[in-house]
Subunit: 426 residues, 2 copies
């Protein structure tokens, strides 16, 4: 579902990979009209894995279509001056709800200065690798944050990369936030804004916001890798009798009390406190005693099936979660199904019908709109040129003939010569 | 640095832990007046580790102070009806730039309905664990996403938790985005909004947005754990002669060409292509051949020092990054220093001076304001009661006497009986 909160704010997106496209998706799912501009035939992220099996394994990308749900797609030859002129014109088109560019492609012809010369109150948001404009990706930033040295029993010498592209995700949402803040300011003051956000700044500022930088500077200490334990309180994963795996967290005093009660270890905990002189009601003391606590808790899980353990944890209001794979989640967790209003089924051209998510935020009492799938590349080329730039059929035809723009690509799942689309072209 | 983009938009934050406080920090660093409300003596996150060594290891929390930079702090007895009345009054105070509540505390007296009864155009944003209001934290959500089963050589049976609280971070930025979008809408239409965002929805929608849900549903495949390799192209970490460790990524064709040239392996790559019949210019073929490629690349790193390797990679414009700990980053990476405008030195009361980050976003041509540190708890109690609610000295005095509110806590670094603060109280 999407919400019409942003009132068809028009955002032109010239992007690739995750951060900028996810920022555009976020805006689109809050009701913005996001026009994604791509090179004819697709940009460098157009065939990212996983791909559908059609066309010898070169069917549509499930990655690209996931990140471009509900955007309009236009295909332009970005190497040609006429193509660049079109994109500049789209980004700077008049109107209070237009004049916003979102990009991670640091090309001079899309620089803020060039656009602001055409529209003084232009808002542009450029996502960079590093703040100096040099290249960096999530993986080459994350390695520097210190996280791989403390993840999964890793070390400085044998770091463990996490798989989630967390900095890309953070960057995307931060960029969407910054764009809307700038739009809000423009509505108040009339002023545009040039916004820049580097992936490495996203990661390194987070080290400050979570206290790790001050810890390293003021306490002169490096965190050790503590495997699957959580830092600063008690929490870890435990295996069940039947091979299941559950995560429990006892961060607050209430959560700790619930865990102790559920596992029936109040006596052992009291003995542990007496032996160590620590107060396990204090989160820091729980953290200090984490291995001893885990030894008390583990047998409880090891002698129960996953279903039994879950039922008992739930009854005691323990904070717990089940480990699952994506397939298991999809097969068995109602939070990832039509029972959850943030999910619905969409039919993506060239792919088929599948479960897909709208905005994670729910807006009470606002009418939801359906989440639209990612269009075939170039689906909206003619519509956008006509609607936004006012080009007539002859002008649009000339742009096609000159190879400056292209219409919808062929649906790889459509049979040759069959189907309505093919008939309409004949 | 912070930017006055949000024009002193007033946000009342009643929160704990990461997601809601980080959302508030994000708003504050874009110029909002964020008033964090805490229980007298501090809420459940007030002593989160790491802590300063004063007071027998119970000095100020570097975690709490990191997440609450630049907010105003008021201390209220939230168990008392008069305390709750004050917070409701603050959240619903009149003015076009007020009337915004940010919370992750699902208490009835802060429910949207209760506030909207006092201010019809109220905007509230509630961060939840699960959408049904049940408890979940980052760790108990992340285990269900499938990521721990594929991180760091982990498996379904031996999952590896990543350490970064990525879903909390994503939630925070998404919430800040949603709040500003609602403010923008209110400025246009006059309507308020009730926003809800569940941590689990944040995580599970991301599985859709990154294509993993569609992959599991349509291709019926689960991703395997591939250690430190990146998915879908080529990228991995390599050790250097002197015990250093570097990450390289060859996602785009240009990045791949640069890596092949830097390592001087063009001939071996051509031979590998001939042997396998694959085209390593295609990212999916690189992914299929990742182990063989890593074997070609590894000796180049193993026979060079880290400094030599970095110089050569940089000269060829390879996409690379250095592994470091937080301490190493702080000691040696100019991106985490005053050379980077997103960082500055702040003096946090009760802690001292340290490097801290402002907004990661840079706004060209807008005057930056200094990043303010986290205040001592209750520092702004009297100021806020007077300024926002118009209470006079007598009324504020009564609230203190009745134990409904409290002023600034004692600075744990101030000597007993010394210092201006102590004198003023005498």
């Amino acid at each position: 579902m999407t919400y019409p909160l942003l009132n068809r704010l028009r955002v032109v997106e010239s992007s690739a990979f995750i951060a900028a496209p996810l920022a555009g998706l976020t805006l689109a799912q809050f009701g913005a009209d996001v026009i994604r501009v791509d090179m004819i035939g697709g940009g460098i992220d157009y065939m990212r894995m996983p791909r559908m099996p059609q066309a010898g394994g070169k069917g549509r990308s499930l990655y690209w279509t996931a990140l471009n749900k509900g955007k309009r797609s236009i295909a332009v030859d970005l190497r040609k001056p006429e193509g660049r002129e079109l994109v500049q014109a789209l980004a700077t088109a008049p109107g209070p709800d237009a004049g916003v560019l979102l990009t991670n492609i640091g090309t001079p012809w899309l620089a803020h200065e060039a656009l602001a010369a055409r529209r003084a109150d232009m808002i542009s948001c450029t996502i960079q690798g590093n703040g100096d404009g040099s290249t960096a990706v999530d993986y080459t930033v994350n390695c520097a944050t210190g996280y791989p040295a403390v993840t999964g029993g890793g070390s400085r010498e044998r770091p463990v990369n996490h798989v989630l592209p967390a900095w890309d995700i953070a960057c995307a949402y931060q960029a969407a936030f910054a764009v809307v803040a700038a739009v809000e300011q423009r509505r108040r003051t009339g002023a545009g804004a040039e916004l820049k956000l580097a992936l490495s700044d996203m990661a390194f500022t987070m080290l400050s916001h979570l206290g790790l930088l001050a810890e390293a500077e003021l306490l002169q200490q490096e965190r050790a890798s503590i495997g699957n334990h959580l830092y600063g309180a008690f929490g870890r994963d435990f295996g069940t009798l039947d091979g299941g795996r559950l995560m429990v967290a006892a961060i607050s005093a209430g959560q700790w009390k619930a865990l102790v009660e559920a596992c029936g270890i109040a006596g052992q905990v009291a003995a542990l406190e007496q032996r160590t002189g620590l107060n396990l009601g204090d989160e820091a003391d729980r953290f200090a005693c984490r291995e001893a606590i885990a030894e008390l808790v583990a047998p409880w899980f090891a002698t129960r099936t996953q279903a039994e353990a879950e039922g008992l944890l739930e009854a005691r209001k323990v904070c717990w979660g089940r480990y699952s794979t994506v397939g298991e989640l999809l097969a068995g967790d109602p939070r990832v199904s039509l029972a959850n209003p943030v999910f619905e089924r969409v039919a993506t051209p060239g792919i088929g019908e599948h479960l897909a998510a709208g905005a994670a935020v729910r807006v009470a009492s606002m009418e939801r709109e359906a989440t639209l799938p990612a269009a075939l590349l170039g689906t909206h080329t003619d519509q956008v040129l006509h609607e936004v730039l006012g080009l007539d059929g002859a002008a649009v035809g000339w742009l096609h003939d000159a190879g400056v723009v292209a219409g919808p690509e062929r649906d790889p799942t459509a049979g040759a010569g069959s189907g309505a689309g093919a008939c309409a072209r004949a």
